[in-house]
């Protein structure tokens, strides 16, 4: 009989008899510490969804979408941050790389990476979203059955650290006629965007760090421009030049690719900020419900102009809405996680979320969004995403 095993009410299994299942890995020495860690091997399928529209002729024009449906919380692990490369990811030598500030400045300057380390640094968590995110929902006549990685994956959220742009611009001395800054990246096509000087000076960051470590190659190593809330491609990666001008240069990307054609045929040249938007990630398309009962509906909400103020969730196709919990801290121009308990009775239904931001803006329904634009427009799509739940528990992309 085992020692005091009968004392008190504590059920202690008999050691000798019941051994339970002893997995192999508790009987051997484990692996030693390592310099840099990686996800578990079993998580290898958790990858970005690679999108190469012209794979045969132009594979370097390539995108990859964050698998939002496989992630929780709000931070995007840097290995899964979305990519949009207009000419591929360059191999920038950080020792040779320079940041130039020139044009309408008193003192044209250049900085190397080491010098920039001496500068004051700010830290802020911000999302980045490609202006073309969710484009399949914007333009496809029938809803694509794909996951959040493919449909909405050009969206990520990181803690960025770097030098306030204003400190660097002040050192160069912006002249009174300097109203715009043409930011140029050090990639093959030397991607360039014109940015109002007000934004640069207000909260622009020369981002050197992403989630604590040096910024990743895909996100602009060794440095990128960060313009909190602005459409992704204005946050120029591999930033090498800030050219102060009196007017926008009307670069390639602000002449065509990133201009929205409206319903009347006219176009919006500059759409700076990302509109208020939300997305249920759990459950979402390509998932299958595991039977009726309790689920937590969970998703992400964001706005390029401020904080998320409120997220409503509907589990009946929009007939009724209830406020979801916003997970603290709710930060401006950052992804906000929302959650809502839900009992699924097993019958078909439609799940939706709609976000409000602190300017009072509300996420539109798809027909309202479509009504504003020419049918070809695929930019700044921020309409409500309805997910259809079938009786079999399949979760499907659907338009309402």
């Amino acid at each position: 009989a085992s020692g005091g095993a009968m004392a008190a009410g504590l059920a202690v299994p008999h050691r000798a008899g019941a051994q339970g299942v002893v997995p192999e890995w508790v009987t051997v020495a484990g692996h030693r510490a390592r310099g840099y860690g990686m996800p578990a091997e079993a998580e290898a399928p958790v990858q970005r969804a690679i999108i190469e529209p012209w794979q045969d002729v132009a594979p370097e024009f390539s995108l990859s979408g964050t698998p939002l449906q496989r992630l929780r919380g709000t931070i995007t692990p840097s290995g899964l941050h979305f990519e949009v490369h207009h000419g591929g990811r360059p191999d920038v030598d950080p020792d040779q790389h320079r940041l130039m500030i020139h044009g309408l400045v008193d003192r044209p300057l250049q900085f190397d990476l080491n010098s920039l380390e001496r500068y004051p640094m700010v830290t802020a968590t911000h999302f980045l979203e490609c202006a073309g995110n969710s484009l399949v929902n914007a333009v496809m006549p029938e809803p694509l059955q794909a996951g959040c990685d493919v449909i909405h994956g050009l969206l990520s959220n990181s803690e960025w650290s770097g030098v306030p742009m204003s400190v660097l611009m002040d050192e160069a001395g912006v002249q009174p006629e300097g109203k715009w800054v043409v930011a140029v990246g050090s990639d093959g096509p030397s991607l360039a965007r014109s940015i109002p000087i007000e934004k640069i000076m207000e909260d622009g960051i020369l981002a050197l760090y992403q989630n604590g470590e040096r910024i990743r190659p895909e996100q602009g190593y060794p440095m990128r421009l960060l313009l909190p809330g602005f459409e992704g491609n204005m946050n120029v990666k591999w930033l090498t030049s800030l050219w102060v001008t009196d007017a926008p240069a009307h670069t390639k990307h602000e002449s065509g690719e990133y201009t929205e054609i409206l319903a009347d045929g006219s176009s919006v040249k500059f759409t700076f900020a990302i509109g208020v938007k939300s997305l249920i990630t759990h459950p979402s398309a390509t998932m299958t419900m595991s039977g009726p009962g309790f689920y937590e509906i969970s998703g992400l909400a964001w706005s390029g102009v401020g904080k998320v103020a409120r997220v409503e969730v509907s589990a009946d196709g929009g007939a009724s809405w209830a406020d979801a919990e916003l997970v603290e801290p709710v930060l401006p121009r950052a992804l906000t996680r929302f959650r809502m308990p839900w009992q699924w009775d097993g019958s078909p239904t439609i799940l939706m979320s709609r976000a409000h931001d602190d300017t009072g803006a509300l996420q539109p329904a798809r027909p309202d969004w479509k009504a504003r634009y020419h049918p070809s427009n695929f930019l700044h799509y921020n309409a409500i995403q309805p997910w259809n739940v079938t009786a079999e528990g399949e979760v499907q992309n659907v338009y309402l």
Binding site: W54, A58, H102, D112, V167, E171, V184, F230, W243, T251
Partner: protein
Amino acid sequence: EGPDLGQPLTSDEIPFYATYVMPDGRGLPEGSGTPAEGAEIFAAQCTECHGITGTEGPVMPPVGPNEIWAKPAGSYWPYATTLFDYIRRAMPLDHPKSLSNDQAYALAAFILERNGVIDADTAMTAETLPMVEMPNRDNFVDVWATQGAKPW
């Protein structure tokens, strides 16, 4: 505010792609190119991605109208200067910055001509390119006028 570690930058240290040709032509270099010259270069270096006549693609055909791309560069873009600069810095995608200024003028000329924006006998130069009247230019919303001083 900071350590003042910026080093002086002289104009001969600034590579051409660190600036951008402005719509009024500031920044355009010497050189010239005709649509016919451009046609030859296009046939040799651009058709693989943009199609034999510049309308087939598969990549964003710069000549319109076409079946693929609602915003063909040669007719949709507001300023012709952008064509020169973008081609010069970025195209062909797999050999960016390999074109001469003359070639970039010629390719801009070719694309503009194919879009019916300029005549076949007009050469593009630092003087003529900024003068090209792009047909869609006045069809853009002024977001400052509609949304105020900070339209974001």
